[in-house]
């Protein structure tokens, strides 16, 4: 009985061993004929040779491409040197120029994010940005494709800002028979405050010579925001105080300049009124 058990066990173990040994091979060598073996060996040998040949070819091509790449890089470097020579400049100046353009673009973008009223009241700053762009366009680097693209983008942004500001341009009121400035200013849809007649008067100096005389069908501007280079007088203000504001002159002694620019409606420099719109001469 023991002998039988030992025989069965050894047979089972040899079967397992044989399976393990054979599993590491991709083929069933037990069933393989010599012809099959030779064919397989020849096939794998051919595949190996073909792959090796392919690798060698690819490596040669890569080497060639690397050389071509280096040659192109050298030509690019040389062309840059020629560009700098023509522009009488250098790489640092070129990078600075690019940086200036990018900064300008960012500034105009930030400007475009403002409300139409803010853009309208800061038209001066927008004009300064435009002038900076014009200055940058005088550089020979501006003719390069990348810079041309950037310049076109900035120009478009400035145009968009201008268009946006147009929506804040003062609306108008057409004078009807029986109207007078006090009455117009007091209308709810105008200013709702008769004292604001000064604002209508000082904003329409080009067509109102005498505030007591306006005519039917006259079209008056009714500004909603303070325009660039303007100041809307508030209660408690006087010329030297206004002149001292940083966005005016930043110097109280320049009140006379303010007075000179607004002599048309200020008869006494010690007497100004709320709602008067003062022009700030630059």
């Amino acid at each position: 009985m023991k002998i039988r058990l030992a025989v069965i066990l050894s047979l089972f173990l040899s079967l397992v061993f044989a399976n393990v040994v054979l599993a590491q091979y991709s083929y069933n060598y037990e069933e393989m004929t010599q012809e099959q073996y030779n064919a397989l060996l020849a096939e794998w040998q051919q595949r190996l040779d073909t792959a090796k040949k392919g690798i060698a070819e690819e490596e040669a091509k890569i080497e060639q491409l690397k050389k071509e790449y280096d040659a192109l890089q050298a030509e690019i470097d040389q062309t840059w040197q020629e560009i700098f020579q023509i522009a009488e400049s250098n790489n640092a100046a070129y990078n600075a120029y690019k940086g200036n353009l990018e900064q300008l673009r960012d500034e105009v973008r930030a400007f475009l994010n403002l409300s139409p009223e803010e853009i309208y009241s800061k038209s001066n700053e927008l004009n300064e940005l435009e002038a900076r762009l014009e200055e940058l366009k005088k550089d020979p680097f501006s003719s390069m494709a990348e810079q041309q693209k950037l310049i076109a983008e900035i120009e478009s942004l400035i145009e968009q800002a201008k268009e946006k500001a147009k929506t804040a341009v003062p609306p108008t009121y057409t004078v009807m028979k029986g109207d007078y400035l006090w009455k117009i200013a007091g209308k709810e849809d105008i200013y709702g405050n008769p004292m604001a007649w000064w604002r209508i008067y000082t904003s329409n100096l080009d067509q109102i010579k005498n505030p007591d005389l306006i005519y039917p069908n006259q079209v008056l501007a009714i500004p909603r925001v303070v325009g660039p280079n303007e100041h809307l007088v508030q209660k408690g203000e006087f010329l030297s105080k206004i002149a001292s504001y940083p966005n005016v002159y930043g110097d109280s002694f320049k009140w006379q300049k303010l007075y000179e620019a607004n002599k048309a409606f200020i008869s006494d420099p010690n007497l100004i009124y709320p709602f008067q719109v003062l022009k700030i001469a630059r």
């Binding site: 393989m32 690819e58 890569i62 890089q73």
Partner: protein, 87 residues
């Protein structure tokens, strides 16, 4: 009769034994050769694919450099012909 039977059985046994023992089988060395050749071929084919990808990458890089050079040459021409904008 019994002798003949025994003889025939013995003959068949010998014939069968000789048939089975004569069947060709690859030696350990041959198996090793085939397996190694196959592994080397598969590895080389994988390397080839990697090399092809690397070559493609270099071709792209070269194409990009060519485009950059072309653009730069045009830029050079533009800088050469640059005129200050009219005031």
């Amino acid at each position: 009769m019994n002798k003949l039977r025994i003889f025939m059985l013995a003959l068949i046994s010998v014939a069968m034994l000789s048939l089975t023992s004569c069947k060709w089988k690859p030696s350990e060395e041959q198996i090793k050769t085939l397996e190694e050749t196959k592994a080397a071929a598969l590895s080389a084919e994988e390397t080839l694919q990697k090399k092809k990808a690397e070559r493609q990458e270099w071709e792209n890089k070269v194409a990009a450099k060519k485009a950059e050079l072309e653009k730069l040459k045009k830029d050079k021409e533009n800088v050469q012909n640059f005129q200050q904008p009219a005031e």
